[in-house]
């Protein structure tokens, strides 16, 4: 909880940086190859959202532990325009990107826990967790 590493997202190249850091941490925690790839894909999605819709923001990583589990928390924060209708954005298959595994519903599927707080006009925070099994 006390240690967070963040990657600032300003240009497309930063998406790769965020993926790299996320993958390194996942590997260290002990995630297998598929999970590493899933986490990297989720990071791509979150970071690209920031890059495309908010302009700038950051993606932060945190190793978390509870009694019998270890996991990775990823927090994507921006101060962009926010999401007007979260219910709609979370709907399957009809997102702006034309669906097909993209967007926030995809991130939700890739991870174990998912939460999004968006204030229209103030920004968005997406908070996701993947547990090590």
């Amino acid at each position: 909880m006390d240690f967070q590493s963040c990657v600032n997202i300003k240009k497309e190249w930063d998406i790769v940086g965020a993926r790299q850091l996320g993958r390194d941490i996942s590997k260290k925690i002990g995630f297998g190859t598929v999970d590493q790839a899933r986490i990297a894909t989720a990071i791509s999605e979150l970071a690209r959202n920031i890059y495309l819709y908010a302009g700038t923001g950051k993606v932060c990583f945190e190793v978390i532990e509870n009694l019998n589990e270890k996991g990775l928390r990823i927090i994507a924060i921006d101060e962009g325009p926010g999401i007007r209708d979260v219910t709609q954005v979370m709907e399957d298959g009809f997102s702006t990107s034309g669906g097909l595994g993209a967007g926030l519903p995809g991130v939700k599927r890739l991870m174990d826990e998912f939460d999004v707080i968006s204030k229209y006009g103030e920004g968005t925070e997406v908070n996701v967790v993947k547990w090590l099994r």
Partner: protein, 336 residues
């Protein structure tokens, strides 16, 4: 967890069997394995992962390049896995919607059911089949106490759920007219006001109303832009178009309709239909109206109901069993 492990084991065995013998049986089993996995909702990226693990266990000393290449493939497959899961969620939604619509279609069938009246002096046949689950065509018989028979036929422009919803409006509005003899032009004028008031301007309804008087044997009718029917003269053994001027319902609140009269001699027939009959397609051409009257002529010795059914089967077959529009046909024949 344990079933996945089991699957990895069987995948590994099959893979090993194939690599060693390259026989078809292992490939057949692989196909069965993947079908089974699909039924278990296992996404394709998981299959790649199982493959990688099996390969590494079977050949721990493969070149590093190969391992790396497989990881790259796995990365590529993650998005496919996501798309796969998304589709599965969609499929469930689709099934739900589908069953909703089939419930609605049943309801509609109950709603639109009209009793074909038994009357002395006339023989009546009627058929109405929707192209999709729900019907955007409507027909209805009204028999008053004074020996006259009203026949309504309507077609909503458009198909599916919206057309069906609009259709149910036609039905209830028709039900609310008094049951006693009313002139076709007045009925269409009344319906025009209902449609104009309740339906948005993008939706049109065509309607035909005919009133057959068993005393005078006159068939009085008006049309609101509806597909013309046929009049069959038994004496001349000839089919004529039932032409009638009139604007479709719902366009202009104050429109009036002209009423026409056709006297029916013994053996004469009135054939009413919707454009789902006349706009049958075979290959890439529409049929001619004459083809319909030809088919009717072919079966004209039969009872009216049988004629409608024979005509329907004829055009159903002609269209490869895929109706492109709702199909409705009504035949009224004055008995000889």
């Amino acid at each position: 967890m344990s079933t996945l492990k089991l699957d990895l084991e069987s995948y590994k065995d099959l893979l090993k069997q194939y690599i060693e013998s390259q026989d078809e049986q292992a490939l057949y089993r692989a196909e069965q394995f993947s079908k089974h996995s699909i039924q278990q909702n296992i996404s394709p990226d998981v299959i790649i992962d199982v493959h990688i693990q099996a390969l590494m266990e079977l050949y721990p000393n493969l070149p590093e390049n190969v391992n790396n290449s497989m990881n790259f493939l796995l990365e590529t497959m993650i998005s496919y896995g996501l798309a796969y899961q998304e589709y599965q969620a969609l499929r469930e939604k689709q099934l739900e919607l589908q069953s909703e619509i089939s419930v609605a279609a049943n309801m509609q069938q109950t709603l639109l059911s009209t009793t074909k009246p038994e009357m002395d002096g006339v023989d009546i046949g009627a058929i109405s089949t929707p192209a999709k689950q729900m019907n955007g065509d409507y027909y209805h018989f009204v028999k008053d106490g004074e020996g006259s028979l009203g026949i309504a036929v309507a077609d909503v422009i458009g198909k599916g759920v919206p057309a069906a919803l609009c259709m149910s409006m036609i039905k209830y509005s028709m039900d609310s007219f008094p049951d006693n003899r009313m002139d076709p032009k007045l009925i269409l004028e009344g319906m025009n006001r209902v449609v104009e008031r309740n339906v948005d301007p993008s939706m049109f309804v065509t309607m035909f109303y005919g009133l057959y008087d068993t005393d005078t044997n006159d068939f009085n009718y008006s049309s609101a832009g509806h597909e013309p029917g046929f009049y069959y003269s038994a004496e001349e053994d000839t089919f004529y178009d039932i032409e009638a001027e009139g604007l479709v319902l719902g366009v202009d609140r104050s429109v009036t309709y002209t009423q026409y009269t056709q006297h029916m001699n013994p053996g004469d027939m009135v054939i009413l239909l919707t454009d789902g009959v006349t706009e049958c397609r075979t290959g890439d051409r529409f049929i001619e109206r004459e083809e319909i009257s030809d088919v009717i002529a072919q079966y004209k010795h039969l009872p009216a109901q049988d004629i409608t059914e024979q005509v329907y089967h004829h055009f159903e077959r002609l269209q490869d069993f895929q109706l492109r529009d709702d199909f409705t046909m009504i035949i009224l024949r004055r008995n000889v």
